[in-house]
């Protein structure tokens, strides 16, 4: 905990220097096994006119071009779109891996677009869990050691780190593979390790970028099941970028991007209780059932015109 305190303190210093200390309250360390402090009031994410520009061959290209979105805490959201539509860029911004070029992106009421690298790092380390398409495990470390890497920036002691990592592996059904390096694990097992790594620090939100992209159909169902259970049983906010319509069908909310803009934002659990406020906020109804609803059956929320 001492290490975490030091890093939080450094982040505070960075915030003080940027004049954001009053706006941003950094998370407090959460002891192992304690309940996740869910944000009961207000949205988890709010994006207002978010734009992300890149320079390619001298030309400015907008990966995201004026995105307005609100994602409530505890939601399971699928983000779809063709290649280059900006969905991965959106995930990077939500995961505090990058800052918008313009617009406002707030997480739990705090503006990420004005945070320095130190503040973003603290957000990544504490609030966000990532799951990648290619698993991105450290090839030389065993499964349990890979899971432990997520606790390193929090300053968790070696003993507790190992204990929590083993518990996280048990949660995804991989206790017996804890001592194996990624090369000795199947794709599905590696992705489970990656999910355990994302969950071990008890983040507020789980961001998954094509988590089933490298998996076969059966394994894909396993992994989606694990993610669903994380959302359902542990109340985590789950945001998944995918091309897979079968995966997309299992989420209550679908956001479709096209050329950097939100062109579709629908509830698809069949309840039809979906509304979009004037400020762009989607009033999400908590999922009543895990029943997958075909995308076509989804209720349009009102596409943002390109």
């Amino acid at each position: 905990m001492k290490r975490l305190d030091i890093e939080i303190e450094e982040a505070r210093t960075a915030l003080d220097q940027s004049g954001l200390a009053d706006e941003w309250s950094l998370p407090q360390p959460v002891p192992a096994g304690s309940a996740v402090p869910r944000s009961a009031a207000g949205p988890l994410y709010r994006l207002d006119a978010v734009q992300k520009l890149f320079t390619r061959r001298g030309a400015r290209v907008a990966a995201l071009d004026g995105v307005d979105l609100t994602i409530q805490s505890g939601e399971f959201v699928i983000v779809m779109g063709s290649t280059g539509s900006g969905k991965s860029t959106l995930l990077m911004l939500l995961g505090a891996l990058d800052r918008p070029s313009s617009g406002t992106l707030s997480c739990e009421g705090q503006d990420l677009s004005r945070l320095g690298e130190s503040g973003l790092c603290a957000v990544r380390g504490r609030l966000v869990g990532f799951v990648f398409q290619s698993f991105n495990l450290i090839p030389t470390l065993t499964a349990v050691e890979n899971v432990e890497t997520a606790l390193v920036p929090l300053g968790v002691g070696a003993g507790e780190r190992r204990e929590r990592a083993l518990a996280a592996l048990a949660d995804v059904g991989l206790s017996q593979r804890a001592g194996h390096v990624p090369g000795e694990l199947s794709g599905g097992e590696q992705q489970r390790v990656a999910i355990a790594r994302a969950l071990v620090k008890d983040p507020h939100v789980l961001l998954a970028d094509e988590p089933t992209g490298n998996l076969d159909e059966k394994t894909r169902d396993d992994i989606v099941g694990v993610l669903e259970s994380v959302w359902r049983e542990r109340g985590k906010t789950l945001i998944v970028v995918t091309h897979d319509s079968a995966v997309a069908a299992r989420a209550p909310r679908l956001i479709r991007l096209h050329e950097g803009r939100v062109v579709e934002d629908v509830r698809q659990n069949g309840t039809g209780v979906v509304s979009r406020a004037a400020d762009g906020t989607v009033a999400a109804t908590p999922p009543a059932a895990a029943t997958a609803v075909p995308e076509a059956a989804g209720t349009p929320v009102g596409a943002t015109a390109p």
Partner: protein, 484 residues
């Protein structure tokens, strides 16, 4: 986690890690070898100087004078002053080293009273020349000389220049051995300062004017002399009281006599041609040199450092090789090793973009990742240091074992311009070149080992900084975007 991660990473990239470590090891090993050889050559030079100069002697004072015309007389021979042995003639001549001017002994006393001078003694270097040859030829030469010609008059006929025994040169043989008159009151300073007693003893106070001699081991062997035997020098017999060997294995002086006896041999009572000075401290040597130069403007004042510059032969070559080529080679290899280590580390970081991007995505700070890269680099540096020191020590031992003995020569005699017979004989007599054979060593001390380890670690830090700089510049979003 840190050490586990570092160790596993290096095991995964064995080839690259080994290449980096070996590069550093090679550079470090070369530095060790070159430094050891340089130190060995330096030690050898010290040994040579001690041998040629005397242990504890900081400054020697000599005076060069032009060979006097009268010296010709010393080289002249007639049937009257040679000993006839069968068909051969033999003549021994003891002379003060030609070309070496003399000082009054009072000068020695004056120098010993100078500030910063701990002690000062005088010495007289002598040369015994034995000329032998065909007696009949000598008789004919004598007759020819009386009629106006003769040897030793002017340059030799064209094509016969030089001291060699070429066509038309007289059939004579010249052998010389050197002698030194030693101040028996302080044998530690001067020519006996660098010898080890093999048998018998050195001179003792009270033997200033005794007919006693100390001979070098090789001369004793050559002349079949032993302690207690009699040695004839000039017209007197001397009792051999000791045999000695040069500490450095060199042979400078063959016979040592009490100074008074040496002076009498050449009718130079109260004169010396070498003054040996021991300074109060190493720092005061230049000041002492300056004071002596002021007192004796015509004298040549030489310190051990000056003498080192005159050392020629394989030792001089080794010194020059170690100083120039060795040093530059070591620097070049070390720089190349640093560069290779740096580039490999940077390339390694580039290959691990996803890995470091992922770590940043899960909250690792840049400095932790830089620390990881630095840790891996340092471990390679440690391996490089161990290998480098091992290779360096092995190399130094091999160099010391396989290298031939070094020969060092110091010539302090005047140049001989004159040709012909006189020139040749004078060349033999004036040749004050002393050659010493030194066993090559290449000592590796703790300081050198620490230097080697420090260099390897410095290389590792350099590589780590380059790699860390690249890792720190990685933006997680870009790192992940590159692979997604």
């Amino acid at each position: 986690m840190f050490f586990t991660y570092v160790w596993r990473e290096l095991r995964r990239r064995k080839r690259q890690a080994l290449l980096t470590s070996l590069g550093l090891a090679l550079g470090v090993a070369l530095v060790v070898i070159v430094s050891a050889v340089t130190a060995g050559v330096g030690d050898a030079q010290q040994d040579v100087l001690k041998s040629l100069y005397g242990v504890g002697t900081d400054v020697t004072v000599t005076k060069s004078v032009e060979m006097q015309q009268s010296m010709r007389g010393q080289f002249r021979m007639s049937t009257d002053d040679v000993e006839k042995v069968g068909d051969q003639f033999v003549r021994d001549t003891v002379i003060a080293t030609p070309g070496a001017g003399t000082f009054l002994e009072e000068r020695v006393t004056e120098i010993s009273r100078m500030d910063d001078v701990a002690a000062s003694v005088g010495g007289l270097l002598l040369t015994n020349a034995r000329v032998s040859g065909d007696y009949e030829w000598l008789e004919q030469s004598e007759q020819l000389e009386q009629s106006g010609g003769g040897f030793g008059q002017g340059p030799p006929p064209e094509g016969e220049a030089g001291a060699g025994q070429g066509a038309g040169m007289p059939p004579i043989e010249i052998t010389t051995y050197s002698m030194a008159g030693v101040d028996v009151s302080d044998v530690e300073l001067g020519p006996l300062g660098s010898v080890e007693v093999v048998d018998g003893r050195l001179f003792e106070p009270g033997e200033e004017a005794d007919y006693v001699a100390v001979v070098s081991g090789s001369y004793a062997k050559q002349e079949e002399l032993a302690v207690g035997d009699a040695l004839t020098v000039g017209e007197n017999e001397y009792e051999v009281i000791g045999t000695v060997a040069s500490q450095a294995g060199g042979e400078g002086v063959n016979v040592y006599l009490p100074l008074v006896r040496a002076q009498k041999l050449v009718d130079s009572e109260g004169k010396v041609n070498q003054i040996y000075v021991r300074a109060g401290s190493a720092e005061s040597i230049p000041a002492v040199e300056a004071r002596i130069a002021e007192l004796l403007p015509a004298a040549t004042v030489t310190s051990a450092e000056d003498l080192a510059e005159q050392v020629s032969g394989s030792l001089g070559n080794a010194s020059s090789l170690a100083d120039r080529l060795g040093t530059w080679l070591a620097i070049a290899v070390l720089a190349a090793a640093f560069l290779v280590a740096g580039l490999l580390t940077m390339a390694g970081v580039s290959r691990r973009t996803t890995e470091f991007g992922t770590l940043k995505a899960i909250g690792w700070r840049s400095r932790r990742i830089v620390g990881q890269v630095m840790g891996e680099s340092l471990l390679q540096g440690v391996i490089g240091a161990v290998l480098g020191v091992g290779l360096g020590v092995l190399g130094a031992v091999l160099v010391a074992q396989l290298s031939p003995d070094l020969q060092a020569s110091v010539s302090t005699g005047p140049e001989i311009q004159e040709g012909g017979m006189v020139g040749r004989m004078a060349g033999e007599l004036l040749d004050t070149t002393q050659t010493v054979s030194i066993e090559m060593t290449a000592p590796v001390g703790l300081e050198l080992v620490l230097l080697a380890v420090g260099l390897a670690l410095a290389g590792a830090v350099f590589a780590g900084v380059l790699g860390g700089w690249r890792a720190a510049r990685l933006r997680p979003a870009e790192a992940l975007r590159r692979v997604e």
